[in-house]
């Protein structure tokens, strides 16, 4: 079976109703992409402000207005750089435009609401995590004469530790998440597909499987079969269907001739029977079989 499942670490969150919701933590690549998108938007905003300011200044050459404009621009720049993240995370309940695009979300680790304090904390710490390394890298060469080598190495090592901190812990928390009690999770939208078990009479009404025949198969095989049957209709799917079909027929050692042309009705019937059997077992026995 050539099916790969990417399994992000699952964070078990206990809601106030004492239901355990399983959130998938965001991948580092996704978070980086979201961050870059957000920074790009900030840069575009600054550029827009600069252009707009320049335009207004050339149109209205009055010193008072120009100074006022410069002040407003400086303020906007400050808010853009420092408060962009805070503003969006507060307004849209933990999603900046970059995160929205990538399907990510910031949640509170303890299961409660994402409070304003949390948003402040996780964003203020970005100064240490991101801008400190940035300024250090950009300006270190200028002062290289004054910084002894060991100090440079030590600071670089410390900065590397901060930068790669998310890689060292299980849920990809960065320093800001640690200090705020937050977590970044994926918020994808799977569609509800039609149930593979249908009540329409299939073309091969007559395929039945005995309990003994279904015994060797377990939940893993059921999951894999479902994944294949839900794949979009293309060449790979046909190949896999044929593979599975052959494997099952071998296992079952059928005495009658199964359909050779199109394995799909057979597989669907097999799936329904296997699922019914396993669910029955699940309900009747007290042990966990998944």
């Amino acid at each position: 079976m050539k099916i790969l499942f990417f399994a992000p670490p699952i964070y078990p969150l206990m809601t106030p109703e004492t239901v355990k919701l399983r959130f998938k933590t965001a991948s580092p690549a996704g978070r980086l992409a979201a961050l870059l998108l957000d920074i790009l938007m900030i840069l575009l905003g600054c550029l827009g402000l600069a252009l707009g300011g320049y335009l207004i200044m050339t149109l209205f050459p009055s010193t008072v207005l120009q100074n006022l404009l410069a002040a407003v621009l400086l303020l906007c720049y400050f808010f853009l750089r420092n408060l962009y993240f805070i503003f969006f995370e507060l307004k849209h309940n933990g999603r900046t435009p970059g995160k929205k695009k990538l399907g990510l979300q910031v949640i509170a680790r303890d299961g409660g609401t994402l409070t304003a304090n949390m948003v402040f904390a996780r964003n203020f710490l970005r100064e240490v995590e991101f801008f400190l390394p940035l300024t250090f890298i950009l300006t270190a060469h200028r002062q290289s004469a004054h910084i002894p080598a060991w100090l440079y190495i030590a600071v670089s090592a410390w900065i590397a530790f901060i930068l790669f901190f998310p890689a060292f812990n299980r849920y990809g928390l960065r320093l800001g998440d640690l200090a705020a009690g937050t977590l970044v999770v994926m918020a994808p939208r799977p569609m509800l597909l039609a149930d593979l078990v249908s009540d329409k009479a299939p073309a091969d009404a007559g395929i039945r499987f005995s309990k003994k025949q279904l015994d060797p198969f377990g939940v893993k095989q059921l999951k894999a079969l479902e994944a294949i049957l839900r794949m979009p209709d293309d060449k790979q799917r046909k190949v896999l269907c044929r593979e599975v079909y052959d494997k099952i027929v071998d296992r079952l050692e059928l005495t009658w001739e199964p359909l050779e042309k199109d394995p799909e009705p057979f597989l669907k019937a097999f799936y329904s029977a296997l699922r019914a059997e396993l669910e029955r077992k699940m309900l009747l026995s007290s042990e966990e079989i998944r």
Binding site: N67, A70, V197, A276
Partner: protein, 332 residues
């Protein structure tokens, strides 16, 4: 056919309608925002949420349809996020913060803020006495960008100009200056807080260094015979600004303390709890920085008399002491 007899199949047929309507409501929330939702839908949301949560529990117990399970997990998570959002309106949050939680939080960490003030003061004294005796120390403490022409080689007239800006009748450059000051100082404040994550020592060094710079400049003006004028200029806005720096420094020290001494809790939890509270303080400090910048920008132009400047300093000091004096909040 196996369909109708499967419990999971029947379960899904019964509940699917409710799931679809919840999905529809959530989609609308995410597209148009929470406030655009009509009241009827708003009332249905908690009911549908509980419905889907119970569906999830049932599905986990009886169904092996991976698609349904994944769908319900996700739907329940999205509904949870929609239901458990912040419930207070923005203005009310602001009011509650400014009048209640901000000063109370500061009062709770008052000893660390006092420590920060102490570090600033000691730095100032050191800088002052060092530079007064040997002006060359000035160059070690104050970088060129910060000095902007104010160094031991400047004449007393140049220095005086900075304190009493009489050449700018419209006061328009002040707006720019004030905005620049605010953003610059606020960034330093935020940095001081964030530095707390590395333990207390870097924050202490930063505070001490800021004090050094201040003291060095004071000595500079003292040598030019403008000592009293300089401190008058500083005190007008400086009380607010130095207090803001001390607040950020105190918050940073508290954060460092949480890293090193977690107390009864796990380090992670202690860090999260402290971080959240201290970030609230830093946000308030940013507001203080804004006020200080306005004072520095405009007050300096409008008022020239050193006596009034000192009076302003004293008045702001009393105001902040009264604002942050909250002994009754000790219990929380």
């Amino acid at each position: 056919m196996a369909g109708p007899t499967l419990k999971s199949y029947q379960f899904r047929r019964e509940r699917e309608q409710a799931w679809r309507s919840l999905e529809d409501i959530l989609g609308r929330i995410e597209k148009m925002g929470f406030d655009a939702l009509p009241a009827a839908d708003l009332a249905r949301l908690p009911v549908l949420y509980r419905n889907v949560v119970s569906s999830l529990s049932v599905a986990r117990a009886i169904s092996l349809d991976q698609n349904v399970l994944a769908y319900l997990e996700n739907l329940a998570a999205r509904a949870y996020l929609a239901v458990y959002r912040p419930k207070r309106a923005l203005l009310e949050t602001l009011r509650h913060y400014l009048l209640g939680s901000f000063p109370a939080q500061v009062w709770q960490v008052r000893y660390k803020v006092l420590l920060a003030l102490l570090l600033l003061a000691s730095g100032t004294l050191c800088g002052f006495f060092l530079v007064r005796d040997d002006p060359n120390y000035y160059y070690s403490f104050v970088s060129e960008g910060m000095a902007q022409g104010r160094d031991p080689t400047a004449s007393p007239e140049t220095l005086r100009e900075v304190l009493y800006d009489e050449e700018d009748p419209e006061g328009s450059t002040l707006t720019t200056f004030a905005a620049f000051l605010f953003s610059h100082n606020a960034r330093i404040g935020i940095f001081a807080f964030a530095l707390g994550f590395l333990g207390g020592v870097p924050v202490m060094l930063l505070l001490f260094y800021n004090g050094l710079v201040l003291g060095a400049m004071g000595a500079l003006y003292d040598r030019a015979g403008l000592g009293m004028d300089f401190w008058a200029w500083i005190s007008g806005h400086g009380v607010t600004e130095l207090l803001a720096v001390a607040l950020c420094g105190g918050a940073g020290l508290a954060l460092g303390g949480a890293v090193i001494f977690p107390g009864r809790y796990r380090r992670l939890d202690q860090l999260a709890m402290t971080g959240r509270k201290m970030a609230a303080i830093v946000m308030g400090a940013v507001i203080l920085f804004m006020m200080a910048a306005l004072l520095e920008g405009y007050f300096r132009q409008i008022v020239h008399d050193p006596g009034i400047r000192y009076a302003m300093g004293g008045a702001t000091l009393l105001f902040w002491m009264a604002y942050f004096f909250r002994p009754s909040s000790e219990a929380s």
